[in-house]
Symmetry: C2
Subunit: 436 residues, 2 copies
């Protein structure tokens, strides 16, 4: 299936106009960046890079696609029929932190080959980055307790797969989404819902123990039994009566989770089920997760909040033309000023590893590193001459990105990990081009 029609019409009308007046072949750089973080956020996590590199290889106009483009002239259709991206892409490795102005991706090539990628680039980065950025806050709030992403039902069915990947990238232990495991190797988890318990209702009434027996028989004693369909105290008693004291876990999906977790822990311990874990779910976000830190919770199921970016469902990244035939260009409208020219970025850190500043500088002109600080180059090659630089599997790429998120969170100053609204954790310094 082609991804080339996942594109705004104006990309192709611009191409048509540029082919006609001869400007389509000018050499350009387009840059992906966010002018700001979502309100009050202190950092963001770059995600989507690998999905974009993969999509780039599929960005071709087949006959079916071309047949729908009857608003274009023959020269443009011929250009699209031959199209494949042959340029270069560099940018932040997936999983890196980003801040306002960070040039997270730069696409280099002719105007024609770069401009038509805009919509797809931004769809992928704006979605995946929004999810990963929210998920990373939950990861730091969970302080080492595992989280399962289970929000597929709260977002578009294909967005759900990408969301599962982005949440895993940002520290979640796994997902409920089967396609995310097939496509990206994200571990899947999950046992049963209230429907399974309710199913075991007969003319004689509900029968929670029958449901638990059925589940344990099929899935084993290490399963997680959902105990809040009727009465939680009875549910826990039924769970241990059926599963025994070696039962894997119980899940609570409603009510005051902090209070209930404490009560259930006491009840489980009293029944001798000291190793039976407690899973909680139900409208959890990073704040609710942080509030449960002191409670005897073993893991979290997180749905709506993570797949909708916890209040920031899009990362507001833009794809801007910054250079034409070596000349820096920029829009000059109020409040939306862009900085022209191809760029790269460095992140400065103290000897302890704590980051202090991000420096964005003209391509090939890194500024001197202040004494006492180390500088790490953030911009790495991703695509050269249209071909991906890495030949790692999607699962290996994802694993490497996951490690970058862990390292990134460790590198933040203390203030950067606060969940409350605040300023970006570090400042961004833009070094002007020497010829400007």
């Amino acid at each position: 299936m082609t991804v080339a029609l996942l594109t705004d019409k104006y990309e192709l009308t611009m191409l048509a106009a540029a082919l006609r007046d001869g400007t389509a072949h000018r050499q350009t750089t387009f840059e992906v960046f966010a002018r700001r973080l979502p309100e009050g956020r202190r950092y963001g996590v770059v995600a989507g890079t690998q999905r974009f590199v993969e999509a780039l290889g599929q960005f071709r106009f087949d006959d079916t696609a071309l047949a729908t483009l009857d608003f274009l002239d023959d020269a443009t259709l011929a250009y699209l029929a031959d199209y494949r991206f042959r340029g270069d892409v560099d940018g932040y490795a997936e999983g890196e932190l980003y801040f306002p102005g960070s040039p997270v991706l730069s696409v280099h090539g002719s105007f024609g080959e770069c401009v038509i990628l805009e919509t797809l680039v931004l769809s992928i980065f704006n979605h995946d980055t929004a999810i990963a950025s929210a998920a990373a806050r939950m990861t730091s709030a969970a302080a080492g307790r595992p989280m399962i992403e289970m929000g597929s039902r709260r977002t578009h069915e294909q967005a759900a797969v990408a969301a599962a990947r982005a949440a895993y990238l940002a520290g979640f232990a796994g997902t409920s989404n089967l396609e995310a495991e097939r496509r990206y190797g994200v571990p899947t988890m999950g046992t049963a819902a209230h429907a399974y318990t309710l199913l075991h209702t007969t003319a004689a009434g509900p029968d929670e123990q029958a449901a638990f027996r059925g589940q344990v028989a099929a899935l084993g004693t290490d399963t997680t039994l959902l105990v809040d369909t009727y009465d939680i105290t009875t549910g826990v008693a039924n769970a241990i009566a059926v599963g025994g004291t070696e039962l894997g876990a119980v899940r609570i999906d409603s009510g005051d989770l902090g209070v209930l977790a404490g009560q259930v822990r006491t009840q489980l311990d009293g029944l001798g089920a000291c190793s039976t874990r407690i899973v909680v779910s139900g409208d959890l976000d990073e704040f609710a997760i942080a509030a449960l830190r002191a409670e005897p919770v073993d893991s979290y199921g997180v749905g709506t909040s993570v797949v909708t970016g916890s209040g920031a469902p899009t990362a507001s990244m833009v794809y801007k033309l910054v250079e034409v035939d070596g000349i820096g260009v920029a829009k000059r409208s109020s409040l939306k000023e862009s900085h022209g020219g191809r760029k790269q970025a460095l992140r400065l850190a103290k000897a302890s590893g704590t980051i202090v500043e991000e420096v964005i500088h003209p391509y090939g002109q890194p500024p001197p590193t202040p004494s006492g600080l180390t500088a790490r180059t953030l911009t790495v090659p991703l695509v050269t001459g249209g071909e991906p630089v890495s030949d790692a599997t999607p699962a290996a790429e994802l694993s490497a990105a996951r490690e970058r998120v862990t390292a990134g969170l460790h590198s933040l100053p203390w203030d950067g990990l606060k969940l409350s609204r605040g300023e970006p954790a570090i400042g961004t310094r833009m070094v002007p081009a020497q010829d400007r």
Copy 2:
């Protein structure tokens, strides 16, 4: 491509347990409804129905899918290999309004065949309904002026296609998304972005007129020129200098749109371009659109706000087991009480057409209509014996749904159209089953 893996793992483990203990073949009804509207919303618009009916026909487990399900026993894998949905579905026609508790979809069949649809049903309805519900508020705010959906870049690339469809369903005139036209016949629109103007920069500096000349040469005088890349007053002068007084439109994408629209209208009229239209875009939501009612704006381009549901990116619909072998079932947890039993719904209206109440009643037991009111049945058959009831094309379905939204907005009491936060426009009355 199968959609069957767009599913939570626990649907399949529940199926395995139910097959093993013999309950998988019990006859069930699952119901899709929202316990509440997004905070402060006065109505919602049902969307996703047609996409779900289409997906249902593709919900099959092929060998590739089955090979990934190594956590299931052989009996469950054999069940899935043979799986196709053979039950019935009824619900609200797409484009109907809905309120808290409205049974927007009911799925009838064996537990096994119904339970595994949960994730896909909800992904589709929660996404599409969130977008359509936000879009309908924009439609009423725009008061007849056309709106273009152009938010593809702010959401997942496949969600973008569904969002374009949902926005069109709810009254938008078209979309920027090419795939939405190919797949659903949504009209596409769009001409050029700032990149095209910036591209016409040379060593001598920017050349806005060259860009405009290129666009008019390729797209004709009826095109829309984007006039805010540099200075708007100069941009408008350049646009008319190049396009003449018959120029189709100018677009303003930044700044105080109300003030600028007035200034640009005066300037255009002064230049004799009295029929040149003004398109505005840039962070518009329903409130910004309403605030521009008095200004000389001809059409709106709407992006982020519509594709993210304008603050409510998911509709919070749930898929609940409500009946097993003819017995109503319901979860009994605090704050999440469900109402058991298969249901249907009526909407009561005054002779003027203004709606006054929604009545949800047990299947086949409609209550008497109060005198002076008319009752319209909302629940219609959608799938019978696994086959779609309608054989209309996707475009025809969409067109009919669009008309339902228009009729629905006309049927609301005045208060229901207020953009401010408030209560649902009409109340929902739940008629208990006679045997309960």
